[in-house]
Amino acid sequence: MFEALQERLTAVFRRLSGRGVLRPEDVDAALREVRVALLEADVHVQVVREFVARVREAAVGREVWKSLTPAQQVVQVVYEELVRLLGGEGRELTPAPKPPTVVLLCGLHGTGKTTQAGKLALYLRRRGRRPLLVAADLQRPAAVQQLQVVGERAGVAVFAQEAADPAEVARQAVQHARQAGYDFVLVDTAGRVHVDEELMQELRRVREASGAHHVLLVVDAMTGQEAVRVAQRFHEALGIDGVVLTKLDGDARGGAALSVVSAVGRPILFVGTGERLEALEPFHPDRMASRILGMGDVLTLAERAREAVDAERAAELERKLRRAEFTLEDFREQLRQVRRMGPLETLLELIPGFSGLRGRRAEAEEEREFRRMEAILDSMTPQERRDPSILNASRKRRIARGSGTTVQDVNRLLKQFEEAKRMMRELERMGRRGRRLPLPPF
């Protein structure tokens, strides 16, 4: 559908080279591609129009840098402008001068309000806060139970009551929080299938009753053109202070982010990146911009790698490599670290150039292969992992049976291990010569 923007622009610019400045007609040709890219990413059609006009102003007459192709340069301008528009100050949940800080989560049905409430609670708790979750969605069947389960998982108290009025529940919850020493109150409100006046009135009453300091709008990253209208309606009725963008772990480009920010002029504070309660991250405009443009997200990848691979372990591995005592034990550890970074498919998504071409079948196959390898390694004794040379036919048969694989699979793994050993020695030599991996333009 939509390949990396840069590739498409390269085609546009193939004809022109060696010019000193970007001329209007060059820029226009490129901007047609940019327009398509943004529309495919679900940015609202009106926002696209304004944005493209703005980029045109910024790009025409720019000097063509020697180090960049014109295509790269236009992408650079587009990227800069996107980051600027998605950015904005105060991108955090400032505590109220007098606790508790009351946060209202609102949004349409199915955007993930209850889940985000739980994630936010966990996020705050891990930062030393004492949050209280409040079940003010009395509409949807079992919504209160859902919040209770979520609260339990997050290790956060949930305030729920049999009362029929959500505003009353919110009022009492805040009172309770004040008395019991909670410093954050997170109110999960009812959604609707559509924005309607009845819902807005209910939410206004909840906001008044709770004295909310922050009203956060929860928006699904897969939302299309409708994002603008939804955000506008909520903003007009309630006054939105910030946005939480959910379901970013899918493959939607998330142009809705730009639409919503432009509709309400408030920043995105958090993004939801998975079903686990830990999967809530602060928003990064630069990463979102790359994603909308389909350029991959190098920074997130690097960060995740850093988190997953324990630095000490890495040093230990390196030491072992030097002394050529890399064993299957280490191999297993290494496999685990790679796996800890997340499923392969989400990793590939983050790598520039890979986001367009995803051979899902091949990935699923790789994922299975990984699991097979782990099973085989787990079926060995520690002694066997430390010294694979003792693996005779009978031991291999036992391992194959234990891991539900065949002796051929075991042999293949041993070969792969030798290969990995060789490659790592190779890499290590390269590293010492000071060669670096080629970096993408951003």
Binding site: E50, P141, A142, Q145, Q225, E226, V230, D249, R253, P343
Partner: protein, 306 residues
């Protein structure tokens, strides 16, 4: 926390946006009362894009209409009729739910938050209302309280609920539900599944397993696998449809949360590219807010009345 005002651009965009929705509608109305010119096509393009039809399919619609105009259409009402025809031709023929031979299987699948549990519940109500015996399978064992939510619906519908503990294997739930459906001589087995993003390989694999279990248990039964799609979803819906068609043998789409402004234009692309028809539409939260899909009124909703 205001990001506005720094450049003045936001104010401009916001101001423009506020007028956009009405403007687009007015644009088209206006367009249909005047002779067809270049600006007509531009407005048409904008209106289709604003309904989530997508760049490619919008391009195809506009191209096809241009061709017909070149062939001699002039009067606004003729052009409008032609446009309706073109849009209509992009949608596969609507097909009713296949419920014979019983017990028919209706597997309800989709991404998180699209409205699967509600759809499964509404469908159960609808079917019991027709005098059918329905077994509901609570195969969403992942989301907190999903089973409780479905239980409320089962009571409302007068359907039997087959449930396991939260966190149990969904394939085991449908296995037991299939047995219950046979034992109770049920007409329909409606299985609610956990929401899953189509990019999660392991979860899609789990869905394949559910499908295999059902196929093995009820080899003779009619098969429906409905992809529940939120009408506010953008272009990503096409990718969703592709993946669920592959993993869950989806036979059709249920378009939920449809209203006057969320038009679900992306189903035009889904129909055109994948041949997957829309079977039902959900318009609200009540048990009766589930209707068969009517392509003509869908197309008319994309085009405001002149």
């Amino acid at each position: 926390m205001d990001v506005a005002g720094r450049t003045g651009l936001w104010a401009r965009i916001r101001d423009g946006l506020r007028r956009t929705q009405q403007a687009i509608a007015a644009h088209l109305q206006d367009a249909f009362t005047r002779p067809v010119d270049e600006s007509f096509f531009e407005r048409l393009e904008e209106a289709l894009l604003a309904s989530d039809v997508g760049v490619e399919v919008t391009g195809e619609v506009v191209e096809e209409l241009r061709r017909r105009v070149r062939d001699g259409l002039r009067r606004p009402e003729e052009v409008r009729g032609a446009l309706r025809e073109v849009l209509r031709s992009f949608l596969p023929q609507p097909q009713p739910l296949q419920l014979e031979p019983p017990p028919a299987v209706v597997l309800v699948v989709g991404v998180n938050g699209s409205g699967k549990t509600t759809t499964a519940g509404k469908l159960a109500c609808h079917l019991t209302g027709l005098g059918k015996r329905v077994v509901l399978a609570a195969a969403d064992t992942f989301r907190a309280a999903a089973i409780d939510q479905l239980e409320v619906w089962a009571r409302r519908a007068g359907a039997e609920l087959v449930r396991h503990r939260e966190g149990s294997d969904p394939a085991a739930v449908v296995h037991d539900a299939a047995q219950a459906a046979v034992a109770r001589h049920a007409d329909v087995l409606v299985a609610d599944t956990a929401g899953r993003l189509h990019t999660k390989t392991n979860l899609m694999e789990e869905l394949r397993k559910v499908r295999r279990v059902l196929a093995r248990q009820l080899p003779q039964s009619a098969w429906e696998s409905l992809l529940v799609l939120d009408a506010t979803t953008g272009q990503n819906a096409l990718q969703q449809a592709r993946q669920f068609q592959d993993a869950a043998a989806a036979t059709g789409v249920v378009l939920t949360k449809l209203d006057s402004s969320a038009k679900g234009g992306v189903v035009l692309a889904i129909g055109r590219r994948l041949g997957l028809p829309v079977k039902l539409v959900g318009t609200g939260e009540g048990p009766d807010d589930l209707e068969p899909f009517d392509p003509d009124s869908f197309v008319d909703a994309l085009l405001p009345e002149a």
